[in-house]
Amino acid sequence: MASTETHNSSGIGRDIAIYVCLLVLAGIQFVIAYQNISPSQMLTRMLAVAIIEGAVALLFFMHLSENRGLMLFVVIFTVAVILGMQYGWTDSYRVLYGVPWAR
């Protein structure tokens, strides 16, 4: 019983550490928003921080780090779907600029 309580209290300690880590990462995004850089640079930096934030939340808050098989399934499946969508999105520019009334 004592070991379970110790495990739970250390677990809450870890949760708080992850929460602080996420707050810091979110804070970094807000700092980037005030930097005097180009929109593409800003987007790249913010997305990089958001991906790290998302990974931390996935691994520790959603316990994906505890199940390697599930983690691989979720990551590979999700990335494949998102990458698949990029194929269609880039083609959608043709619709924007290719129609007769576009210019």
Partner: protein, 207 residues
């Protein structure tokens, strides 16, 4: 049935329990599949938004302050922590603690939704609607209200789920696992917000 008989027939005996996929209970696996599908939905919206933003000259930057969005982010991140504490309480069979922290999470979700609606009302008062944008291209308003509206819908659904599952857990109808599965959904809503904030709010901040 012996191993040899199993091999001969090519399938396990009727009634034998198959090993769950990735050793994850069926309900939790269903939630993960829902999360993957929902990730694709949000990714679709955000990527489409990114392309529209890039392709549109003179994209408006109507946000003057980060106070509201920073507060909303703080509330949503804090709600993920309270959810975790609730789940840990449930795992050590502390029913009242789990119920209390789950309800605190739901209250934080309501607070987030109220702040969100307050922001919407402010923008609508300035003339922004789904099809009209006083600062330039109407695509901005369409994208903004669609993406944040979809997220707000998820938050609202999450709050209802938290209250329903919390009450049923307290009443003994649901187990700690059910609370954990609802928590997975809540963390996902938080995760999506981490991408909505930079793309929809911070990139459109006027300096």
């Amino acid at each position: 049935m012996s191993q040899a008989e199993m091999t001969m027939h090519g399938h396990p005996p009727a009634g034998a329990m198959a090993e769950p996929t990735f050793s994850v209970p069926a309900k939790k696996m269903a939630m993960w599949l829902f999360i993957i599908a929902d990730t694709a939905t949000f990714a679709g919206c955000l990527v489409a938004y990114g392309f529209i933003r890039n392709a549109t000259p003179d994209w408006p930057r109507p946000f003057h302050s980060i106070t509201n969005v920073a507060l909303m982010t703080l509330i949503l991140l804090s709600s993920s922590l309270t959810m975790m504490i609730g789940i840990r309480s449930a795992q050590r069979a502390d029913k009242s603690g789990a119920f209390r922290w789950t309800m605190i999470t739901a209250v934080l979700g309501v607070l987030f939704a109220v702040l969100h609606l307050r922001e919407w009302m402010g923008m609508i008062a300035e003339g922004a609607t789904l099809f009209h944008n006083p600062w330039g291209t109407p695509l901005f308003s369409s994208a903004f209200f669609s993406i944040t509206g979809l997220h707000l819908l998820h938050v609202t659904g999450g709050v209802v789920a938290l209250i329903a599952v919390g009450i049923r857990y307290q009443g003994g109808r649901y187990k700690a696992d059910d609370l954990e599965i609802t928590g997975l959904y809540w963390h996902f809503v938080d995760l999506v917000w981490m991408f909505v904030v930079p793309l929809v709010y911070l990139m459109n901040l006027s300096h």
